[in-house]
């Protein structure tokens, strides 16, 4: 392991000051399931680990009375899916949080860590996009918010500037008659990196027969997870039917710009986008109809 120092600040202000002072060598440590491995394997130079798990607002999980949700950037996946009320209201979050790595990883890994690692195949990111999550970012100049679909800028890269850290993700209350779902494809049942993944969040008319609006996101098929506005637009105002859903799938396939690598080929990934978007929309519709 490369030699790095470690500090556990108790406030966001302290953490931001440390990050600003130490520059690129300082890294925010949440669950460490990516970062500690990267440091150990020399894939990331780390001079200082800033452990944020002692900061209350970074490990919070709080459902507001208006139905909106706030998830601290370092709140573990297990904390999320073990909360019955959150699991009931945000089942798509559970879809994602409960399939990242094994139980051992879920004990530590966080939504914020997955997002800040900014891997193209990050299994929570399409869900965060579909659920219209907002990133709360603290930095030396104060706080700012960024829509989650604008957060990642390339493989392993994101909008965080020197001294900035992700504090929390906030989710608006799910609309009436809405539902969301996430799926990924891997060649085995558990413990693998997505060949492709997708999330859908649909809002239906009160009778459940028409899409009012939809948000579709796909992953592992571009340098960053993608929000596919055109796929949502293909559904909005249309009746819930296989033909309508096929149009959304085609729009998502059109937006996908995958590569061929050890996990899958361009053709396979394009195909998978169609399959996964169809399945997640159908599952989201099922959940919306309750």
């Amino acid at each position: 392991m490369q030699a790095f120092d470690y500090i556990a600040p108790s406030t966001v202000q302290e953490a931001v000051a440390l990050l600003a002072k130490h520059g690129a060598g300082a890294r925010v440590l949440a669950g460490g399931t990516d970062l500690i491995i990267q440091a150990r394997e020399g894939r990331r130079d780390v001079a200082l680990m800033v452990d944020v798990k002692g900061i209350a607002e970074v490990t919070v999980l709080s459902l507001a009375s208006d139905g909106s949700l706030r998830v601290g950037a370092a709140t573990s996946c297990a904390t999320i899916y073990q909360n019955a009320e959150v699991a009931k209201r945000f089942p798509a979050l559970v879809d994602s949080a409960a399939l990242i790595g094994g139980i051992q990883i879920q004990s530590r890994a966080s939504l914020g860590g997955n997002l800040c690692n900014s891997g193209p195949a990050g299994d929570t990111i399409p869900t965060l996009i579909a659920l219209s999550a907002t990133c709360e970012i603290a930095g030396p100049a104060g706080t700012r918010t960024v829509a989650v679909e604008d957060f990642c800028t390339g493989p392993g890269r994101n909008v965080l500037q020197n001294g900035e850290m992700l504090v929390a993700l906030t989710f608006p209350a799910p609309a009436s008659h809405s539902g969301a779902a996430f799926e990924r494809f891997i060649p085995r049942n558990e413990m693998d990196i997505a060949v492709a993944n997708a999330a859908a969040n649909v809002t239906l008319s009160a009778d459940g027969g028409t899409f009012q609006s939809a948000r579709i996101a796909i992953g592992a098929v571009a340098p960053t997870p993608l929000y596919v506005a055109a796929a949502g637009a293909a559904l909005a105002g249309q009746s819930v039917s296989d033909a309508t859903i096929a149009k959304a799938c085609a729009a998502a396939q059109e937006a996908a710009i995958p590569i061929t690598d050890m996990r899958g080929s361009i053709d396979q990934r394009k195909h998978l986008v169609g399959v996964l978007v169809r399945r997640t929309i159908n599952k989201a519709v099922e959940r919306a109809r309750g």
């Binding site: 392991m1 490369q2 030699a3 790095f4 120092d5 470690y6 440590l29 669950g31 460490g32 399931t33 500690i36 491995i37 440091a39 150990r40 394997e41 680990m49 452990d51 798990k53 573990s76 297990a78 790595g101 094994g102 139980i103 051992q104 990883i105 004990s107 530590r108 049942n189 558990e190 413990m191």
Partner: protein, 162 residues
């Protein structure tokens, strides 16, 4: 950069030890505390050989820094047997021949203990799902799952008999 003092409850006893800020909990257990039961398999969070229970959660100790253990309560494989008798899981792994080289075994037993402590009635499907983060490259998984199923039954009987 200086070593840090860590104080943790390990297997029911308070342990104080010094760690480098960049060493993993796995390294601290093995090198600082001489507790060699916890194994290093992959060293990157895939195999589960280094599993310990930390503050009630199953974790890969290779993905935790030793310094993060300060104030924590930790159960390692050394804390699974009680006094002079084996834990039902350990006995069951022996009886089912659920090990060959043994490197994955401490991780499997600690993980299975975490499962059965939380979910005493876990079924086979749940076991297979829960143990997906533990890899064995010798026996295949059937004997391991049979061992956990048997241990579950023994533990349920013991609870029922109380």
């Amino acid at each position: 950069m200086s070593k840090r003092i860590v104080s943790a409850n390990i297997n029911g006893e308070t342990a104080e030890f010094l760690v480098e800020p960049y060493e993993t909990l796995l390294e601290s257990l093995r090198h600082e505390l001489g507790m060699m039961g916890t194994k290093e398999g992959c060293g990157n969070g895939n195999c589960g050989a280094c599993n310990v229970i930390m503050n009630g959660s199953l974790v890969n100790s290779c993905c935790v820094l030793g310094v993060e253990a300060n104030g924590a309560t930790i159960t390692t494989i050394e804390g699974v047997a009680q006094a002079d008798h084996l834990h039902p899981l350990q006995q069951s792994f022996l009886e089912n021949a659920a090990l060959q080289c043994g490197i994955c075994t401490p991780g499997f037993i600690v993980a299975a203990k975490a499962l059965l402590d939380a979910e005493p009635d876990a079924d086979e499907a749940r076991m297979r799902h829960y143990l997906a983060g533990n890899l064995c490259r010798c026996t295949g998984y059937d004997k391991i799952i049979r061992a956990v199923l048997d241990a579950r039954d023994v533990m349920r009987q013991a609870t029922g008999a109380r």
